[in-house]
């Protein structure tokens, strides 16, 4: 499915939904996409640290200055270790294992996956943005308008995929634009263009989905039964954020790649219920306040247990209150 036309902010005749199909089974983990993205969008390197147990991934995650990020998953064969979990890799302290079992498990697979903004149909960031900086384009992608964003940071926790982030120095939120500027001139996005093995494929969304389905079937025939699409081709009830504009072909559970098994725009999923609950509670609170006031005062007037010493005189004339006028006057005086 595609986004509601009411969401589309820029309209151009004949514009179709465009997207990415990232096929991890042909990814070679070269990181060309990461660099090509930084080159075209002129983004800075964000620090060089050697990250332990990170295989060849030293840039960590998507950020305000890293819009493509390649994840590395070292998956091991159970043999020769007796009680090695079905999926090895990052879960296992190899040194400890070597000490415990005196064995070294074989590499089973080394999986590479180039992560990117998903350009969701139901986009959490888009729903959250209070300024309209985030918009849905004519290609049904989701972009931040740098001249509008005021860095409120609400989109950051609203993204179920941890994509968009606020730059600590610049103060604005930033993420992949699917090279909105290049698309205007019929150029494919920088990462897709550079990808040496076409692991990142770019094109009209519906065509990509057809290619992807064919790929899954082909892999199944070859015995790669783990292959599945993440974010496209699902039944309406089962879609990820109403289908992802940038979807993936994976061969391991999504958690291996830091992807949620299911996702939805938080605002759409929780907003209505929460608002209802909140308003109800508030109404209740207000009512309760009014009620307890009414009760107290009625009781006071009817000389109930809360009876004030003096008779029906209005509050202002209350003897003790008279004594305590000074502060009140002082209050006025200050004005």
């Amino acid at each position: 499915m595609s986004a509601a036309p009411t969401e589309v902010a820029v309209r151009r005749p004949g514009a179709r939904r465009m997207g990415f199909f990232t096929d991890t089974t042909v990814c070679i983990g070269c990181k060309a996409c990461e660099v090509a993205c930084k080159q075209w969008n002129d983004l800075p390197a964000d620090g060089s640290v050697f990250r332990r147990r990170s295989s060849y991934d030293h840039t960590g995650a998507l950020s305000a200055s890293t819009w493509r990020h390649v994840r590395f998953v070292e998956q091991l064969e159970p043999a020769p270790l007796p009680d090695l979990p079905a999926y090895g890799g990052g879960d296992l302290d190899l040194v400890a294992a070597a000490e415990r079992f005196g064995g070294v498990p074989q590499m089973d697979r080394w999986l590479f996956m180039s992560d990117v903004c998903k350009h969701c149909t139901n986009a959490g960031c888009l729903d959250a943005c209070p300024t309209g900086a985030l918009i849905r384009t004519e290609f049904e992608t989701v972009i931040v308008q740098p001249d509008v964003c005021n860095g409120c940071g609400y989109c950051v926790p609203s993204c179920p995929f941890g994509v968009i982030d606020r730059d600590p120095y610049d103060g604005r939120a930033a993420k992949c634009t699917l090279c909105y500027d290049r698309l205007q001139d019929g150029l494919e996005p920088a990462c897709a263009k550079s990808c040496p093995t076409d692991s990142i494929q770019f094109g009209p969304y519906d065509e990509l989905v057809e290619v992807a389905k064919g790929r899954v079937l082909a892999l199944h025939e070859r015995g790669v039964t783990d292959a599945y699409l993440y974010g496209a081709g699902d039944e309406p009830g089962e879609q990820l954020a109403g289908e992802l504009g940038a979807f993936f072909l994976l061969t391991a559970p999504p958690e291996r790649f830091g992807l949620p098994a299911q996702a939805e725009s938080p605002a759409q999923e929780n907003g209505p219920l929460a608002t209802a609950a909140g308003l109800a509670a508030a109404a209740l609170g207000l009512a309760a306040a009014v009620a307890s006031f009414a009760r107290a005062h009625r009781a006071a007037r009817s000389g109930g247990p809360l009876r004030a010493p003096a008779s029906r005189a209005p509050l202002g004339a209350h003897p003790r209150a008279v004594r305590s006028r000074a502060p009140l006057r002082a209050l006025r005086g200050r004005r």
Partner: protein, 437 residues
């Protein structure tokens, strides 16, 4: 927001670069710029890109896996879709993370908000509560208390807006918050509500000072009604995120926040009124006492109920900074309740202390929830499990009804567009002014 000290490294490199005088050629290092894509303008408007085929033809031309490969099955099998869907279901359908898979985070980004936001939440709550009190007092006929409560309301909400501005990454662009009206975004709605609330509240106070009690009453009532959203939307705001601990509390967070708001509002007013000479045993004071106690009681009840149903997710509520804050808040509240419910021995101060304890407890709760969110976002297992477990929790009752949204052909709204653009320009103008100044 909190900025790292000093300029970003790439700016340092650029600033250290000495341009070469002898040759015109620009030798500034290409080390990138932050926060936005590079220039989105054509070098020559209306002219194409040299040596590039139009309409993404390059993408197709260079496409690697053509018909000469077995890259994909082409004969569209009848059950193709079913197979593809089944494959996905196998891998991500189960409600538990597969055995032996350690979720490899990070999955989501933690909220970037700093102290200003919870502080605002607290003050907003106090203001909401006060507005309620004002209305209640009015209706109960205690006009002077109402007038004071309205002043308290404004005193509380006054710093709210500045705090919000402070938290922005680009404070000078704060106006953009009202560039559009977008009910879908709790923050946008909240901003509008805050504006309306403050205006109404200010109006009411003004009316009081000008001795127009009737108008004051009306505006006060308006304020209180707006308060019903102002007091609850902060909870909605957090609940409408991907942060597990917030999202999974979507039915509880807003009520909890309302309770805190009412309680702290009442407590604040109780103290102020006492200070302004409303005697002990005065019905207003009594009412306020009842309200704050009841609200705080409800808050505690809801919180613990929520913790119960959150199960493992709630771990972040007991650990780290969030845990400490929560513990403090709870003990403060419990102590308050205790003081309230025991027979008074320490004179009027016993109840004042209780009110103070409620206030500090309320404040602590706000900070605690933000901290909890940060911790929860960093808890990879929690995020992964939450995503897997969507079928559980309160969704279970919702009936399956897959229906795509109606296709309404949207009318191009000219006026909002012009307004939005005006605001944007204004913001940019303010920003450049600030930059210059």
């Amino acid at each position: 927001m909190s900025h790292p000290s000093g300029p970003p490294p790439e700016d340092v490199i650029r600033s250290e670069h000495r341009p070469d005088d002898r040759r015109g050629r620009d030798t500034t290092p290409a080390v990138g710029r932050r926060g936005a894509p590079a220039l989105w303008r054509r070098a020559v408007e209306g002219s194409p890109v040299a040596l590039a085929r139009r309409a993404w033809q390059d993408a197709r031309w260079s496409y690697l896996y053509k018909d000469d490969t077995a890259y994909r099955a082409r004969d569209g099998a009848a059950d193709a879709n079913a197979k593809v869907q089944a494959a996905a279901r196998r891998m991500r359908g189960a409600t538990e993370v597969p055995e032996g898979v350690e979720p490899a985070g990070p999955f989501i980004n933690a909220p970037v908000w700093t102290w200003e936001v919870p502080a605002y939440f607290f003050l907003g709550g106090v203001a909401t509560g006060s507005s309620f009190v004002a209305l209640a007092a009015d209706l109960a006929g205690d006009e002077r208390s109402a007038a004071i409560a309205r002043k308290v309301t404004m005193a509380a909400i006054g710093p709210g807006a500045p705090l919000l501005v402070l938290d922005l990454g680009r404070p000078a662009r704060f106006l953009n918050m009202m560039r559009i009206f977008k009910p879908r975004s709790a923050m946008n709605a909240g901003a509008w509500c805050l504006a309306a609330f403050s205006t109404a509240g200010a109006g009411a106070v003004a009316a009081d000072l000008l001795g127009r009690p009737r108008l004051a009453k009306v505006l006060g009532a308006k304020t209180a009604l707006l308060g019903t959203y102002l007091g609850s939307y902060t909870g909605v705001l957090l609940a409408s995120t991907a942060v597990p601990i917030w999202a999974r509390s979507r039915l509880f967070l807003p009520p909890i926040f309302v309770c805190t708001a009412v309680a702290t509002g009442a407590a604040a007013n109780r103290l102020v009124l006492a200070a302004t000479g409303v005697p002990p045993g005065h019905p207003t004071r009594n009412a306020l006492g009842t309200i704050e106690t009841a609200a705080m009681g409800a808050e505690l009840a809801l919180s613990s109920l929520n913790e119960q149903r959150l199960g493992q997710l709630a771990d972040v509520l007991d650990h780290g900074r969030a845990g400490r804050l929560f513990r403090f808040a709870k003990w403060a509240v419990r102590a308050g309740l205790l003081l309230r419910l025991t027979r008074r021995r320490l004179g009027p101060w016993q109840h004042h202390v209780a009110s103070l304890l409620y206030l500090s407890g309320g404040l602590a709760f706000r900070f605690a929830w933000i901290e909890a969110g940060r911790a929860s976002a960093a808890d990879h297992d929690a995020v992964a499990r939450t995503a897997r477990g969507k079928a559980t929790a309160d969704d279970r009752r919702t009936t399956a009804r897959a229906k795509t949204s109606a296709r309404r052909s949207p009318r191009d709204r000219r006026l909002p567009h012009l307004y939005a653009d005006a605001i944007r320009r204004l913001s940019l103008a303010v920003e450049s002014a600030v930059r210059r100044g």
